[in-house]
Amino acid sequence: MTSTFSRRTILKASAGGVAFAALASPSILRAQNAYPDRPINVVVPFDTGGYNDRLARAFAPFLQQQLGQPLTIINRGGAGALLGHTFFLQQPDDGYTILCTSAAPYLPLNILTQDASFKLEDFYMVNLPSQDYTLMATSAGSDIKSVQDFISRLKADPSSLSVGLQPASADLVNFHILCSANEIEVDAVRVVTYDGGGPARNAVAGGVVDVGFVGGEGFLPLAEQIRPLLTFDTRKRDNWDGAIVTDVLGADADFVVGSQRGWGLHGSMQTSNPEVFKTLVGAIEAASKDPAAIEALKNQQLATDWYGPEESNQMLARTAKVMEQYLDLLKGN
């Protein structure tokens, strides 16, 4: 099993140049000892610069300290994280490959809409500190002042406003929920689809689309250029003004939470390598609670809250279930 890993490492090293070689090649020379005795790979199933990539790179120094071995971040972006998730599961479950991903919505999406070859149980979430949410927003200079304003305009003429969002996203589901609760003819609304949260937010901030439904955490750097209208959560998040979803849809409001991001392991490791499994869970917990880590990540607007494996896996399973209810919406386009 280890041999496939090493060959990949060598190949990557020779291709990627000196930087990689310096980190990865000593591992081939060393004998197998107590875990961990060589560098550990962190698979990020997204390209450099996104939230997971930033989270992995910012958290790595602290986790490294706990494990006593360097971490190497491997970006495997593509196909809505399907390629990266598949790649991760193909690696041996020996603890030398761990995962940093947006477990929700991508794992359920891979499984429900992309015929992924894996199940949710193949992954074990150690901690999902980042709990994103859909934020409905408009540009700072817009004449749309509130959710009610938005609703009444669309009720009068559903084609009067354009809405920017990502296809097959929690945001899309939330938009549909808001519309159907207010008897807005959703198919007549001018929905504009974007390839990522970033472009969609830029379109909102620039007033290219009238209103956007996009992950809220990513809006923070653009805070001055937008006006938040509605947070899809039961509590206020990140000090956004505007309404929260229970104000608009009632206390038992139905909505989908946004991305749940954090650290995952092979599910099979619990039985195949229980010792290594315990070491890794302990190290991630210790690093998450390290005051220096909390301080460093907070400054980069990254989350470190410790929810623990039990709650994290439950949250993920719950989200997967809700998403299954809206399968047609996520699949159909």
Binding site: L11, K12, S14, A15, G16, G17, A19, F20, D47, T48, G49, G50, D53, R54, R57, A58, P61, I74, N75, R76, G77, G78, A79, G80, L82, L83, T86, F87, Q114, S159, S162, P167, A168, R190, V191, V192, T193, Y194, D195, G198, P199, N202, A203, A205, G206, G207, V208, V209, L220, P221, L222, E224, Q225, N299, Q300, Q301, N333
Partner: protein, 505 residues
């Protein structure tokens, strides 16, 4: 628009922290080497260096990373000139004339021209940025899908110039490229043309495909040749000729200015950037040049146009990043991550409160551009020795390096497989007289074109004309484009008249 107190603050900042200057040289060198390796992108070079910056102060960290950015931006042009392989996607147009120049034995001149226009383009872009950072950032976010579509269409005009002798074959090759560019999941979530292969969900991997089409196909065609340059006497590496190329560049200030302007503006638009700007600038220059017919056969003006535009895109992308806190592409995303590591969040408040830092970054980039000239001279001198390597050694080594590069950029065998498939395809296209460059342009522009046309349709509810009339910037872009085409037609007729007259006499 320029605040003098902040400017002097910037000088104090830069002169008080000598550390910042120490990182300039290694940054440029790392950038040059990584950029020159086919397949290693600017973003990858910067991502590798990012962890090291954690232990530096803010200004040295940013100086180091932007030095890599600048270095890699030019590094990509070296293999583009010497072997016809764009080291990065922003050097595609450099291959059009740079490589023919090298084949003619003008490799030293071509590298000199490329270096000089890169340095001037980079300087010019930061001058423009220095003066216009606030107004530029005000416009960038307001650009909608119709404006982006207009930019993509403008890029497509290049197809006309690349077609060569058979216009129909050029258009066919371009259309094929656009179709390739639309493979995968589109912006509305539809999946097309993936043949069930998950790697293709994000489209055909652009850089390996491009390397295969442009380079590998050429190299396979060269298999019976002994040297890249047929004439032995021309194979010399001459410092004098490199400097001659540098000097030659200064004769075309208009081309450099136009290229820099296109580069800054296109570079500032998030998601477009230098891989498009070099194509636009090349096509505009060719259209307006009196000797437009010789473009593609080794006209140094083509190299100047491409290089001035791709290196000035850096300034544009930096403007968007500094002013709005928005990454226009991978490189600026890494820079923003470095900002975040030092607890600094880009955006309007950053510029308002830290003008001195912004100006310090701009000034250090002036210095980088100057230094790039010195380091670059040495680098191209050494790199020039490639032409003295017999092709029986060069071709296999380049193919191997490209294969590694293709693996590195995709992180899986999807990269090398794409490279090989497109090498064979490219070879066949060249063999039967279809311009591969047209396919590359189509491939690069395909998704931009389709995605924004689709979004224009969505946003306008199908009423393109009504929506178009509400978008003054889009109208302006279309008007400029039409004007440029008309101007070309007029000047072509005038030239033909003059030629006919002189022939008659």
């Amino acid at each position: 628009m320029v605040e003098l107190t902040s400017v002097s603050g910037a000088f104090t900042l830069l002169s008080s922290d000598m550390n910042a200057w120490l990182y300039l040289l290694p940054g440029l060198a790392i950038g040059l080497i990584f950029g020159a390796m086919p397949g290693i992108s600017i973003t990858m070079a910067m991502a590798f260096a990012l962890p090291a910056t954690l232990y530096m102060d803010f200004l040295p960290a940013i100086v180091f990373l932007t030095a890599i950015y600048t270095g890699a931006g030019f590094g990509g042009s070296v293999p583009a000139v010497l072997m016809g392989i764009p080291g990065t996607s922003s050097a595609v147009a450099t291959t059009f004339d740079g490589y023919p120049m090298a084949r003619k034995g003008q490799h030293s001149e071509a590298l000199g021209v490329a270096l000089a226009s890169s340095v001037i383009g980079c300087l010019a872009s930061y001058v423009i940025l220095f003066v216009l950072i606030v107004p530029i950032s005000g416009v960038v976010l307001k650009l909608g899908p119709l404006e982006m579509f207009a930019v993509a269409v403008w890029g497509m005009l290049l197809l006309g110039s690349l077609a060569g002798t058979h216009m129909s074959r050029g258009l066919l090759a371009g259309t094929f490229g656009v179709l390739l560019g639309t493979v995968g999941m589109n912006t509305a979530g539809f999946v097309r043309g993936t043949m069930g292969i998950p790697w293709l969900l994000d489209g055909v991997p652009q850089i390996p495909a491009m390397m295969g089409l442009l380079a590998a196909s050429q190299l396979i065609g060269l298999i019976n040749t002994t040297y890249l340059i047929a004439d032995e006497a021309s194979r010399k590496i001459s410092f004098k000729k490199i400097l001659g190329g540098v000097q030659h560049t200064f004769r075309y200030p208009t081309i450099i200015f136009r290229g820099s302007l296109i580069g800054v503006i296109v570079g500032a638009i998030p998601g477009v950037g230098s891989s498009i700007s070099n194509l636009l600038s090349y096509s505009e220059t060719k259209r307006n040049a009196s000797d437009g017919d010789t473009f593609g056969q080794g006209n140094p003006k083509g190299v100047i146009a491409a290089e001035a535009a791709n290196s000035s895109s850096e300034g544009g992308a930096m403007a968007t990043m500094l002013a709005l806190g928005i990454p226009g592409g991978g490189a600026t995303a890494i820079l923003l991550a470095a900002f975040a590591m030092h607890n600094i969040v880009g955006g309007p408040s950053f510029i308002a409160n830290n003008k001195d830092i912004v100006y310090a970054v701009i000034f250090s980039n002036f210095a980088q551009a100057m230094l790039l000239f010195v380091v670059g001279l040495g680098f191209v001198y050494v790199a020039g020795y490639v032409v003295r390597v017999p092709l029986r050694f060069l071709i296999p080594s380049v193919l191997v390096v490209s294969t590694f590069g293709a693996y590195a950029i995709e992180g899986s065998s999807a990269g090398p497989i794409t490279l090989w498939v497109f090498s064979v395809l490219g070879w066949a296209m060249v063999r039967y007289g279809y311009p591969v460059a047209a396919t590359v342009v189509g491939l690069l522009l395909g998704s931009l074109l389709e995605g924004n046309l689709l979004r224009t349709n969505q946003i306008s509810g199908g009423d393109f004309i009504g929506y178009g009339l509400e978008r003054p910037w889009a109208l302006l872009i279309f008007a400029l484009m039409l004007g440029s085409i008309l101007l070309q037609a007029i000047s072509k007729r005038r030239r033909a008249k003059v030629a006919a007259l002189s022939a008659a006499q």
